[in-house]
């Protein structure tokens, strides 16, 4: 396609008063060789937009550089079909944060126009990815418990075909053991209606159910998943769109509990799960002799909230104890029932259920460390009652029920890294970049044929949960969404909503993927990475560093990208030392050209230059906010937004320093345990890469302080001016880049 560059400079919002617009236009026409360059006092007005539209229609302008406000605003105004649109931010990040009519301010704006034009020239319009295989919109649900059944039914009700795989012979999961549940409105015990749900699923023509079955293998990616399901010795193949993982949980093994809780010392010390089974199968009796229970105690947080056992709270055990205590009371109103608890956790309207239990005459004892003593068939619990401050004895007990917690099904199995066959005897290369590995346990649930491991990576304690508070369905394996207690401990009400939510995400994934678009967080992005394979050296960095496991390997160890798994973060592009990975609208050459477009003043002008590579989601808006608040920052900086700092390719550092630019400042998101990087480890990878380049700089006697990485959040606009000044001051100390003028 023939391209024609047009540069539009808005002079509104203070731009015209702060800059020499004529000189700026000259940069566009002379330096950038733009055949069209126009100014407008209010470019976002109807009149201004019409100006652009006329050029598109009459002049054939199709590569548009709009030097005006931040791309974060007026996004709907400056949208032109079939044109490359580059928004050059000379409002928030130039005139609103710099001295008006100042030489440095003018130079900054001029550089941004050059950089914008350079970027626009290297941008192509992306075309959506279409795989060769037929795309499926069907949803696979793994796990036929409450969450899995609900996810299947919810997806089917929205018009999607579902395949449900359950490992047991019958559907229902843990809830099969449960006769009564605690849920909204939390006033009374509620009869469990699981059978209705099972029937609804079984009679739904849109849901194909496999019981007594397991997923043997999953290959491919969203909309092209190939799933092998093994049942009764035969294997069924399904072509699927997206996956809901609802594999549920296992009770914590009571044999591992602290001996003072008495488990194993008497048959009359049981777990809350054993209580459910006993209640559902008939009456609650003393296990040792099947006599009625007159006195019972529930000991909460048995091996929970304790780093030596389960460090977390399983969320439901308080409700379960209240329910079971009420069940004993309803069986025998004269029974003495105690609940020995550390914290009573009945959030929301659940407080009503706690109140009901109190009204039923259940006695609550707050105690951090109860002890069970066994005397024949009778039990005694010794507890330090925090309310009275006294040691009390709950004697003559027929039954002690321990509230053991939930362990997600994904927490079982060996560490994938440990079982992975080591590849050859390759010595670790000196410049090897150590990539933080995913925590994947071989739990034999999904059996993904992914190079990075067969299951979803765990977050903590084996839960494959999202680490994002505002995006609980963020998944590190695209198109696979965890729901229910496998994701985090939750009760019945929570599991129902969670299953519907995960089904929603699965549906959304197939809808976006069939349009060739990315899913969250770059939802709708049509670009995807292209690999120039002839130059690949099989170094494996792209396959190892992709945060989403999107790149497998073929037999010859070539990377085998699976584009429907791709989240378009471009971490692979940053990882590749041969620079063979690029997107139509984002590439190494593009950022390189932006860097090269910066004019570097001679040493004697004493105008150092700093390239800021900024995360476009957090650091870039923070820089905008500095402008919005009319604070000022250092005039030597030139900001280049990156999709993710993880797309940082080290060649950019070389490009920058060899051009005589004095420093490079990377502004990325927080990483580590509480990472905020939207692409999991992109920010961390960029810092690791930078540390490698620092070593090289030291070797070249080019001061390593010229490059710096800083974690910066979107709310850190107040920190920015000082941070940039401090870096600039350090560069002055170091002195000019010796490559200036080369």
């Amino acid at each position: 396609m023939e391209t024609k560059l047009a540069v539009y400079i808005c002079t509104g919002c203070g731009i015209g008063e702060a800059l020499d617009i004529e000189a700026l236009s000259k940069v566009a026409t002379k330096d950038c060789k733009a055949p069209i360059c126009r100014n407008h006092p209010n470019l976002c007005s109807q009149d201004g937009v019409q100006l652009i539209k006329n050029d598109i229609a009459n002049e054939g302008a199709n590569v548009l550089v709009i030097a005006a406000c931040s791309p974060r605003v007026m996004y709907d105004v400056f949208a032109f079909d079939d044109c490359v649109v580059e928004r050059t931010n000379i409002r928030e990040q130039v005139v609103w944060c710099q001295k008006p009519n100042d030489e440095d301010t003018q130079m900054m704006a001029e550089d941004y126009v050059r950089m914008g034009a350079a970027k626009a020239k290297k941008t192509e319009l992306p075309e959506p990815y279409k795989p060769e295989q037929e795309m499926s919109k069907d949803i696979l649900v793994v796990g036929g418990g409450l969450a899995g059944l609900t996810a299947a039914l919810e997806a089917s009700k929205a018009g999607y075909q579902v395949v449900l795989v359950e490992k047991e012979a019958e559907l229902g999961g843990f809830q099969k053991k449960v006769a009564q549940k605690v849920t909204f409105p939390y006033k009374e015990l509620t009869a469990n209606d699981l059978n209705q749900l099972v029937q609804a699923v079984e009679s739904d023509s849109g849901i194909k159910v496999y019981t007594g079955a397991k997923v043997e293998k999953i290959s491919g990616g969203p909309c092209v998943f190939d799933v092998s399901i093994k049942q009764n010795g035969s294997t069924a193949e399904h072509h699927m769109g997206a996956i809901v993982l609802a594999a549920g949980w296992q009770p914590y093994d009571p044999a591992n509990l602290d001996g003072k809780l008495g488990y194993g010392a008497s048959p009359n010390v049981i777990t809350n799960v054993q209580f459910e089974e006993m209640f559902t199968s008939g009456a609650v009796v003393r296990p040792s002799d099947q006599t009625p229970v007159k006195n019972a105690a529930f000991l909460q947080c048995a091996g929970q909230r304790d780093p030596e056992y389960l460090p977390y709270c399983s969320s439901v055990c308080c409700f379960t104890a209240l329910k079971q205590a009420i069940q004993i009371k309803q069986q025998d109103p004269d029974a003495n029932v105690f609940v020995v608890y550390k914290e009573m956790r009945t959030p929301g309207q659940g407080e009503d259920f706690y109140r009901k239990a109190q009204q039923e005459g259940i006695v609550f004892v707050r105690c951090q460390s109860p002890e069970v003593m066994v005397q024949g068939s009778k039990l005694t619990v010794e507890a330090d009652d925090e309310l009275s401050g006294e040691k009390i004895l709950l004697a003559d007990l027929d039954l002690v029920v321990l509230a053991t917690g939930m362990v997600p099904a994904t927490a079982f199995g060996e560490d994938f890294k440990a079982v992975q066959p080591k590849e050859g005897e390759e010595k670790e290369k000196e410049d090897e970049i150590k990539v933080p590995a995913d925590a994947i346990l071989v739990s034999d649930i999904l059996n993904l044929e992914y190079r990075q491991g067969p299951e979803l990576p765990g977050l903590r304690y084996g839960f494959p949960d999202s680490h994002y508070i505002c995006f609980p369905y963020e998944s590190r394996r695209t198109g696979i969404y965890a729901a229910g207690c496998v994701r985090r401990p939750m009760g019945v009400a929570g599991a129902l909503e969670d299953a519907a939510g995960a089904a929603m995400k699965a549906i959304q994934c197939v809808e976006l993927t069939t349009r060739g678009a990315s899913v969250h967080p770059r939802a709708g992005d049509l670009s995807y990475p292209e690999f120039f394979m002839q130059r690949c050296t099989q170094c494996k960095r792209c396959t190892e560093e992709c945060p989403f496991g999107a790149i497998n390997e073929d037999e010859k160890a070539n990377p085998l990208p699976q584009p429907t798994r791709c989240r378009r973060c471009s971490v692979c592009m940053g990882a590749c030392p041969e620079r063979i990975i690029s997107f139509k609208n984002y590439s190494i050459a593009m950022i390189g050209d932006m860097i090269k477009a910066i004019e570097v003043p001679e040493e004697d002008e004493e105008k150092p230059r700093i390239v800021i590579l900024a995360c476009e989601n957090d650091a870039y808006p923070a820089l905008d906010m500095v402008g919005l608040r009319r604070m000022t920052y250092n005039a030597w900086v030139r900001v280049i937004p990156l999709r993710c700092l993880g797309s940082l390719n080290l060649v950019w550092i070389a490009d920058t320093l060899s051009k005589g630019i004095d420093g490079v400042f990377l502004l990325g998101c927080r990483h580590g345990d509480e990472y905020q990087c939207h692409f999991i480890k992109g920010s961390e990878l960029s810092e690791i890469r930078l540390s490698k380049v620092k070593e090289t700089l030291d070797r070249l006697v080019l001061e390593s302080d010229r490059v710096r990485f800083e974690m910066l959040s979107i709310a850190d606009c107040d920190r920015l001016p000082a941070l940039l000044d401090e870096f600039a001051a350090r560069l002055v100390e170091i002195g000019p880049n010796p490559y200036k003028g080369y």
């Binding site: 509104g12 919002c13 203070g14 406000c69 605003v73 007026m74 996004y75 709907d76 919810e154 009700k157 929205a158 018009g159 909204f184 409105p185 460090p311 399983s314 969320s315 914290e343 009573m344 956790r345 959030p347 929301g348 309207q349 659940g350 407080e351 009503d352 109140r355 707050r366 309310l387 994002y468 508070i469 505002c470 995006f471 609980p472 401990p489 939750m490 929570g494 909503e497 519907a500 939510g501 929603m504 995400k505 549906i507 959304q508 809808e511 899913v519 967080p521 939802a523 709708g524 989601n617 808006p621 906010m625 998101c669 927080r670 905020q676 959040s713 979107i714 709310a715 606009c717 107040d718």
Partner: protein, 420 residues
């Protein structure tokens, strides 16, 4: 399957739950109308300093969500808008939406000229009235849409003309009137959220009388850089850095005289806020008065971490009364120690009331008939066929749960469209 009359989904409430419902449905290819009564989206979370347990800024996720909206023309947004009536049935709802005047039209570029020209100040609603803001204003740093607002008092006042003339882009329309639009919708998601329980009703705590008794939502603003004190936690009476701080949990919650339910988030909110204080004041001493600390699931990790801080004390007991020392504006907390049955007097320079969540539906119900629980929450997500409640409209919930719920509600709404 027969199709609904219209394929559009109405989402009422642009807070975390509604925002999520709208975006999730739109990204699955559905047309959505999002109605928000504030001049900006983001709801209560926009006013939070940080989220627990990660201590990350809400703006970060909001930026992503706003970008999702910007990239998705399927979502139509009405701010300063309220739904006044809903009639009809699943797949065929008739909805009236009242659009209140912003007095600023789409020509606004956000240049700030109107604000510069304006001298009138109003209490800043974003900061719960703790500071003043110009009556021509941008609600906050990340207001979306980024468009200024004129306070009605300014429009009626003598300065209106001057402010209008200051706008170079003809974006101010002083004659803007409230108007009503009628829309046909296939499904409705109601997510109007919550408001902080009125702490003045806790009459023994002196909120509103004693300046150094504040609420947890106010503490969020005090800690935020874009709050009234540029992020310095200073006590309101004299701007002093507090050395002793008390958090009173269940201030109104779990109390049959006020909110009988538990508001679910206040324990973690206070734990989080105690970290704000400890970060700024390494010597400050904090006491948290509680009944139970409800740090469910992995949030327990955060509770454990906070408990390790020797400067944070946990005191099980309810504060009966707060008194103020008139000379210093310091506070004295009268607390009954249930263990010894003795009365303690504990001094504090700043008291934070962990007030709970009152559902907005308890005062502004959904304008159609449906069932509520005893406290004004909508009784079920499927409130009626084709009308769904999500987030804190249904139950007190944290951010993650609200998103989860909004995502689920989006699916229910989509089912409505294919069902009929």
């Amino acid at each position: 399957m027969a199709k609904a009359v219209t394929q559009s989904i109405l989402v009422v409430g642009g807070g975390m739950s509604g925002l999520s419902a709208a975006i999730e449905a739109a990204e699955a290819g559905h047309e959505v109308y999002l109605v928000e009564k504030n001049p900006y989206l983001g709801g209560r979370v926009a006013q939070l300093h940080k989220y627990f347990p990660k201590l990350c800024p809400p703006y970060c996720g909001l930026e992503i969500n706003f970008r999702r909206l910007k990239n998705n023309p399927k979502v139509r947004i009405f701010t300063l808008a309220e739904v006044t009536s809903i009639s009809g049935s699943e797949g065929d709802w008739d909805v009236s939406i009242k659009l209140n005047p912003r007095y600023v039209n789409e020509k606004c570029t956000g240049c700030n000229k109107c604000s510069e020209a304006c001298t009138m100040e109003i209490d800043n609603p974003f900061n719960y009235g703790m500071d003043k803001i110009k009556a021509a204003y941008l609600p906050h740093d990340m207001a979306f849409p980024m468009r200024y607002v004129l306070d009605p008092a300014l429009v009626k006042g003598s300065e209106a003309k001057k402010v209008k003339e200051a706008c170079p882009y003809d974006a101010i329309d002083l004659d803007m009137q409230a108007q009503t639009v009628q829309l046909k919708m296939g499904a409705v998601v109601w997510a109007t959220g919550w408001k902080p329980y009125d702490a003045a009703k806790l009459d023994t705590y002196g909120f509103g009388t004693y300046p150094n008794v504040i609420t947890n939502v106010m503490m969020e603003r005090l800690a935020a850089y874009n709050g009234p004190t540029q992020g310095k936690i200073l006590r309101p009476s004299d701007g002093k850095a507090p050395e002793t701080i008390a958090f009173i949990q269940c201030a109104g919650s779990r109390d049959e005289n006020h909110l009988p339910f538990c508001s679910s988030i206040c324990c973690l909110a206070s734990l989080k806020q105690s970290t704000y204080i400890r970060e700024q004041y390494p010597d400050a001493k904090i006491t948290i008065f509680f009944i139970d600390i409800r740090a469910t699931d992995r949030l327990e990790d955060f509770y454990r971490k906070v408990k390790e801080d020797p400067n944070i004390q946990f005191f099980k007991g309810k504060v009966a009364k707060i008194e103020q020392d008139a000379a210093t504006s310091n506070l004295i907390l009268r607390v009954e120690d249930t263990t010894t049955m003795s009365l303690h007097e504990i001094p504090a320079e700043l008291v934070v009331l962990a007030t709970g969540m009152q559902p907005n539906t308890s005062e502004s119900p959904v304008p159609t008939s449906l069932a509520y629980d005893d406290y004004g929450f909508v009784a079920a997500m499927a409130a009626r066929p084709g009308l769904f409640a999500s987030g804190c409209t249904r139950t007190p919930a944290g951010v993650s749960e609200s998103v989860q719920d909004g995502t689920a509600a989006a699916l229910k709404a989509i089912q409505s469209l294919v069902r009929r």
